[in-house]
Structures are given as C-alpha cells and as structure tokens.
Symmetry: C2
Subunit: 228 residues, 2 copies
DNA sequence: TCATATTGAATGAATGTTCAACAAATGGTG
DNA sequence: CACCATTTGTTGAACATTCATTCAATATGA
C-alpha cells in the first residue's frame, strides 16, 4: 500500500534526490550498472528511507523498493543490513567532510574568514536540507548504543573540534579576548549542532536563514572585534 | 496526576540504572502493586532499555525483563508498545517541565538570575545524566518520522523558547544591547541542546562541567553587563 | 465469591537472509 | 564475426528468526 507512494516520493525530495531516483529507467532497470553506481543508488535509497520512516522502520524491502530493484539485491551488494547502514553513514560523513574542507580552503588564510566560512558551510543547501538532516538525526539516535556508529562519528568530530579550537585560539590572540578558546569553541560547535537539531526536528520558527542569523550573532558576540 | 509521579522518580534520580532494576524483590515480585506504581516501574524499565539498547532495539520482552515481570504484563498496563513509548516520553517531559518550573520559581524576579538558573537547571544531575540523556536521544531520533512524538515535543518547546525570548528582551532593554532578542534566544537554546547532544553522544571532551562552563561563557559574551 | 492482576505459552505478522534459477556481460576460440 | 563458456548481476520465493499481541489458566486481594 505504501509501496506505490514510495516511488512517487523520491521525486519530492527537496534536493538532488530527483536525479538519483530518476536516471533513465533504461540505465538501472533490469540491466546491469557498474558496481559503484548501484551501491550509490542503494545508499541514496537508504537515506530516503531513513528520512521518511526513521531508523527503526527502515527495512531492506523499503530500500530495495525505493531503488526500484528486487528484494535480494541489497544483500548482494552489501553483505547485511548493518553493513548497508554503516556504508550509508560513511557516505554521509565523506560528503560532509569534502564540503567542509572545500569551505576551509576557499576561505584563504585569514582565521576570522575561515571560521566564518566553516559556519556558513554548515548551513549550505547541499548539506543542510530536510532529507539529509533527517537521516543524520536517525543515525544520531542510534549512535549511543552502537559502538560502530560512535567510532565513525567521534574520530571525525574530534578533528573538527580541534580546528575550531585552533581558530579560536588565534582569534583570541589577535583580538585579546578573555575567553578560554577551548570553552568558546565548544559553545560554538554545540550551538551549530543545536541549530541543526532544530532544523531536523522541523520546528516552525527555525529556518536555514534564522539559524544562520543566530550563528552569526554568536560570532559577533564572542568575537566583536572580528565580526562586529 | 503527573506531579506525584515526578516525586517518585526524582528519588532514584542520579544515574542509577541499578536501583531501578533492583528495588526490593519483595515489593514487586508476584504480589500486586498499585496500578500507578507498576506503570511507573515499567516506564523506568523502558527508559533503561532505551538508554542501553536504543530505540530500534527496545523490545517489550526487554522492558518486562528489566522490570522483573512477565512478558504479557506490558500489554496489560499499556495497551500497546506504541502507547508505552508515548507514556514514557510524556513522563520524561513532565519531569523536565517540573524541574524547569521549579528552577524558574526559585530564581526570584531578577531576569538575569532567572536566565542563569534556567541554564543551570539543564545541567542538573537529576535531569542531565547518561541514562536519561540517552533516552532523550533515542526519542529525538524517531521524532522526525512520528507525528505523535513531534506533537508532544513541539508544543512544549515553543513555550520554553518564548520564555527565553522574553527574558532576552528584558535583558536587552536593561543592558541596551544591540542584538535581536529572538535571534540571541535561538542561539542560546540551540547551544543548550547542542551541549546535551554532546553529552548524550558521550564525547570524551565534554562533561557536565565543561558543558556548563561553555554555557556560562555564552551568557557572558552575549550579556556582558549582566554576567561579566 | 468476585474482580483484578499476572503469567507464560501460542499465534501471526514482519523482516533479514539465503539460494537456486535466470539474464546479461565478458572473453576467449575457431 | 559467430559460438560457446565463464563470470557477474539480478530476481523472487523459501526459510528462519524475532517480536508484539492475545488469551486461557492461575494467583492474589477485597
């Protein structure tokens, strides 16, 4: 009963899902596609399912249906459901990483600009959209009780956090602020994650624009000499 | 009706998964207990299970075992698994609410003090401990795709947010700050939730103490004339 | 004795995984 | 090019397991 709906909904997906769900039925239907393409197709279908149904309700059948393929296919490309989900989380982290690094690179050498760009990056449409945020939230909800997810998360998060701390340290020196860089960096990254959380939950009063506004307000308050 | 409930559980409070699973076999075993006590016992067992196994892996059997009761018992006291989970979420919200209101009341009439106390309240041991944070995270992860959970969350959250906005507005006037109160209130509440998120995930570098430190740093940065 | 709470086994539905059969690509050989 | 063998991808049904729910039997308290 929900199956037909599933096919339709890949289209609605606010962003780029359209393409991944659409690419000529000729290419994916029945006929072979390269291993990588097929795996990506299944990962995208997994994200769709996570976003629409949540972690607990995401089933192999729903993923296969969402990709327009048969039931057994997922176990062929990924050995098990668990490995599919890990690959999906990995994929999302890789995408986030790439985006983050690009933002940092484009910011040049000025630490104030770098921090600003990193904050902006978090609210970019390509990263920060309903579908992906919902999928993140689904994973976070399970991460606590799944060592594998937690391991994946913590190593990367620690790295981002360190970059924030370093930037805050530099800004402190050049602006002679009184704060402990470590403390203010934690406040900053926590706020960014909290804003994501709000966006994920779909709270009425929080949009990408207002979230970004609040993030900017924080920077202005914490580093008035740089962002005033 | 919820008030009495609140009293009971604050007793076991701190972090004691142990006790909630242990309390005198004499009391609960076989012999009848009042309906309310039994329901509370099952709700506590549900929180334990959510914290230990996550939402997706929480089963009726695990809840019953955790409470030291038989399999069929949960369907007798709560009609279904879904209703058990809703009652559990409701219970956690009631507890949080009560704690929050108490903190606000104890703060007196000074808005700066009120805001400070509300922030402190969020990191109080009775609210902010591994077990309960993990349970919150488990619910949040599913809230996006469950209208019932979302409805429960959003109405309350909107209320808290409004209080924050009002307090920020007052502080702005008395300290003649430049910020838009709405924007700064969102930044504040997002940061608080983000800190919770970090604590939930069990990141090494974030403890209740460092989280509170960061929250205070935020207040000092945003309202220097009040918290400087 | 009656109402209510509790138990634990039975039931049925949902779902992850396996696998034999089939189809498509690939590559070698004449 | 034609032909066949092999490898690889795909399918869908069968299987086994897990789990929520039901319910008849039993125990408990009034």
């Amino acid at each position: 009963m929900l199956e037909t709906v599933t096919l339709m909904k890949t289209a609605d997906a606010t962003d780029n899902v359209a393409e991944s769900g659409r690419k000529g039925d000729a290419e994916k239907r029945g006929r072979k596609a390269s291993k990588e393409v097929r795996q990506l197709q299944l990962i995208e279908a997994t994200i769709d399912s996570l976003a629409k149904r949540g972690y607990a309700e995401t089933t192999m059948a729903d993923v296969a249906d969402g990709a327009g393929l048969s039931r057994g296919i997922v176990n062929f490309h990924f050995e098990s459901k668990e490995k599919l989900l890990i690959a999906t989380l990995q994929h999302m982290y890789d995408e986030y990483s790439a985006h983050w690094r690009t933002a940092l690179q484009k910011a040049g050498n000025d630490p104030a600009r770098q921090l600003q760009h990193l904050v902006w990056a978090d609210f970019d449409r390509s990263i920060c959209n309903k579908r992906k945020l919902a999928a993140w939230l689904a994973f976070w909800g399970e991460a606590k009780s799944r060592p594998t997810y937690q391991a994946l998360s913590s190593s990367r998060d620690a790295y981002y956090q360190q970059v924030f701390i370093d930037l805050c340290t530099t800004l402190k020196q050049s602006g002679s602020y009184a704060y402990d860089p470590q403390v203010i960096a934690l406040a900053l990254s926590a706020m960014l994650e909290g804003l994501w959380l709000r966006l994920m939950m779909g709270t009425e009063d929080t949009t990408r624009e207002t979230a970004l506004q609040s993030a900017n307000a924080f920077l202005a308050a914490a580093f008035p000499k740089h962002y005033g």
